[in-house]
């Protein structure tokens, strides 16, 4: 269990012209489950590998429990990493794979097998112990990799997209399980993923990265409801937030198709802004109502528990989330109303959130 700090860490690979990680500052609390989220190439894996000791930062410091680790070999950092490809030793049985870190620590043989048995029990893989990695399914390999990380009780768990090689159903299941396991063990965990649903469901906090820079650090709720900039707004959420160009007209904002919405409180209305509306921040009505904006349905996408209605408004395409009973046909005229608390304003040039 440990606190992890990144202090102004930068790393650039010789073959690339921009930094893989650019002045990263991050503070992960003891026992926290932190998710590093971003598109591929955003630097999240590099940030993780620097903490593991597999890459060296060009500048800055990385601390575990207040002590700098950048000069330590990976073996001396006491962190465990679950690789995307699991990295099980193919020439060892599952038992020996899990036991390997214990053997290195020269625990007594009885202690070694006791710990292996216990962690195998915890993950439900006792029956796999005599097998070889090649005889396991992807999900089973993933569990063995997890067991190998857990068995040595490291200070920090690092996970590099450990669920991305599982099929969709197993991934959802493992997500829940992994989160519960982390809470039970209470070990500080840094989890890298490009899947925003994984990040939302698992993380205590999410650090969103793009182009090597930290875009926002906050709870899943904060990151979803109050994205710090346009990148976060569009990366998180499925479907993503609607972003619409707006201009100022008195105290109100005029969006595409002359849709007038009120400027959120506490923000000075100005030109050069974009308005962000989550699909559920738009209310869709089938009958005209005062103050509601007419729009035309392009297509409805039923998802079972909800329907995503795509509407055209001027030259903008908006996605609106409605209940399963509302399923307007293409070409239908519908009426939109923005929920005032759901209106987000962004500076059009910098992309930064204004409220």
């Amino acid at each position: 269990m440990a606190r992890v700090e990144y202090d102004d860490v930068s790393k650039r690979f010789p073959t690339q012209d921009r930094a893989a990680v650019d002045h990263l500052d991050l503070d992960v609390a003891d026992g926290e489950f932190l998710v590093l989220l971003g598109p591929s190439g955003c630097g999240k894996t590099t940030a993780l590998r620097m903490l593991a000791g597999l890459e060296y930062p060009d500048q800055g410091d990385i601390l575990i429990d207040g002590g700098s680790v950048v000069r330590l070999e990976p073996k001396d950092r006491d962190v465990a990493l679950v690789f995307q490809s699991y990295a099980l030793y193919p020439h060892m049985s599952v038992r020996n794979n899990i036991q390997y870190p214990l053997r290195i620590r020269k625990l007594s043989p009885e202690e070694q097998s006791r710990k292996v048995e216990r962690v195998a029990e915890l993950l439900g893989i006792r029956h796999l112990l005599p097998r070889r990695p090649a005889q396991l399914s992807g999900g089973e390999q993933q569990r063995v990799a997890l067991a190998r990380a857990i068995v040595r009780e490291p200070r920090v768990f690092l996970m590099d997209e450990p669920l991305s090689n599982l099929d969709a159903k197993l991934r959802t299941h493992t997500r829940t399980e992994l989160k519960a396991l982390q809470k039970q063990l209470g070990v500080t965990t840094i989890f890298v993923t490009h899947d925003q649903a994984e990040a939302m469901t698992m993380g205590d906090r999410i650090a969103v990265l793009d182009a090597g820079r930290l875009q926002q650090l906050g709870s899943p709720d904060t990151v979803y409801q109050r994205p710090a900039n346009l990148f976060v707004a569009q990366f998180i959420g499925s479907p993503p937030m609607n972003i619409i160009d707006a201009r100022r007209d008195g105290g109100a904002l005029v969006l595409a198709g002359d849709w007038r919405v009120e400027t959120p409180r506490g923000v000075a209305a100005k030109d050069g802004v974009k308005v962000g509306l989550r699909p559920e921040a738009i209310q869709l009505e089938l009958t005209p109502a005062p103050g509601a904006q007419p729009a035309e349905v392009l297509v409805s996408e039923p998802l079972g528990s909800e329907v995503i209605v795509n509407v055209t408004l001027g030259d903008a395409l908006l996605k609106v989330r409605t209940g399963p009973e509302v399923r307007p046909d293409p070409g239908t005229r519908v009426f939109l109303r923005a929920r005032p608390e759901g209106i987000r304003l962004f500076d059009a040039s910098s992309g930064a959130a204004l409220n």
Binding site: G53, K75, L81, F83, A87, Y89, H91, I104, R148
Partner: protein, 292 residues
């Protein structure tokens, strides 16, 4: 060994699905000729070794006998030569495996600035004909006191094959995913022990190929042995051959039976090693060519 490999190759290539009988017969004929070509010298070797009056062509011995074998051990000290050869080839193999593991792994993993230059420089060494290095190696060995010593013989034999084996092994290491050793480092192993405990076992086919090729090359090498060794105590099997041919008063009086008996004992260990490691060698060579 050749016959088996060839006949198996014939079987697998000659009868692909849908091949006509003409093709099958033609393929078998071609392979038959190839097999015969390799088989004839062995046939001579084995018939002559058991023939007290062996001649320079193939005939069945009138009275099969072990006389030739007894004589090479009693009169020509062949046991000593065998022990020397096994020791030199074995030590060369061990030295090569250690050196090639370290060099190949470094070249595979390190981000060196002039790596491709280094690799081509290594390859260039391999293109040098051995006979061209004869004079300098002789001079060097003499200056360093390495003539007539096991150490000199082992060092030079290990060095001869090193460039090629480094290339070969680098390829095997390139095919071992990096995350395996990274996992071992994070599990708490030093880089060297991660190499020994995780990378080498995964690349064991490569190690098998390197060990086999290294042993066979040192076992069969003649030139360096001739220029480096003239002590009777250190003579190896090729030198024993040479001596037997020479001391029998020239080629008109060559005692073919003795030479053939030596030949049998020279070839048998090689065959044994090949048969024992055949699967590993074949799999390893296929894997390395795939990586190239």
């Amino acid at each position: 060994m050749t016959t088996r490999a060839a006949s198996r190759a014939a079987r697998s290539t000659a009868a692909p699905r849908g091949a006509s009988w003409v093709e099958t017969v033609a393929a078998h004929l071609v392979f038959g000729v190839v097999v015969l070509f390799f088989l004839v010298p062995f046939l001579w070797l084995f018939t002559s070794a058991f023939d007290a009056d062996a001649v320079a062509y193939i005939r069945l011995p009138a009275k099969p006998t072990l006389d030739n074998f007894v004589r090479i051990f009693t009169e020509h000290d062949f046991g000593r030569a065998l022990v020397n050869s096994v020791f030199v080839a074995g030590s060369t193999m061990v030295l090569d495996v250690v050196a090639v593991s370290l060099a190949g792994y470094s070249l595979s993993r390190l981000d060196l600035r002039f790596k491709s230059w280094i690799m081509y420089a290594v390859l260039l060494l391999q293109t040098m004909p051995l006979s061209a290095t004869m004079v300098p190696i002789y001079g060097l060995a003499r200056a360093l006191g390495l003539r007539n010593s096991y150490v000199g013989l082992i060092l030079i034999h290990a060095a001869i094959e090193l460039p090629f084996l480094i290339w070969l092994m680098k390829n095997f290491f390139d095919n071992v995913p990096r995350y395996l050793e990274e996992a071992a480092w994070l599990d708490g192993r030093s880089k060297l022990r991660a190499l020994v405990e995780v990378v080498l076992p995964v690349a064991r086919n490569g190690i098998g190929v390197v060990a086999g090729l290294s042993f066979l090359a040192a076992w069969a090498e003649v030139l360096m042995m001739i220029i480096l060794i003239d002590s009777q105590d250190l003579k190896t099997v090729p030198l024993a051959f040479y001596e037997t041919l020479r001391t029998q008063g020239g080629y008109t009086e060559v005692q073919y039976g003795l030479v053939a008996a030596m030949g049998v004992l020279y070839a048998v260990p090689v065959m044994a090693i090949f048969l024992a490691t055949r699967r590993m060698m074949v799999r390893g060579l296929v894997a390395s060519s795939r990586g190239l």
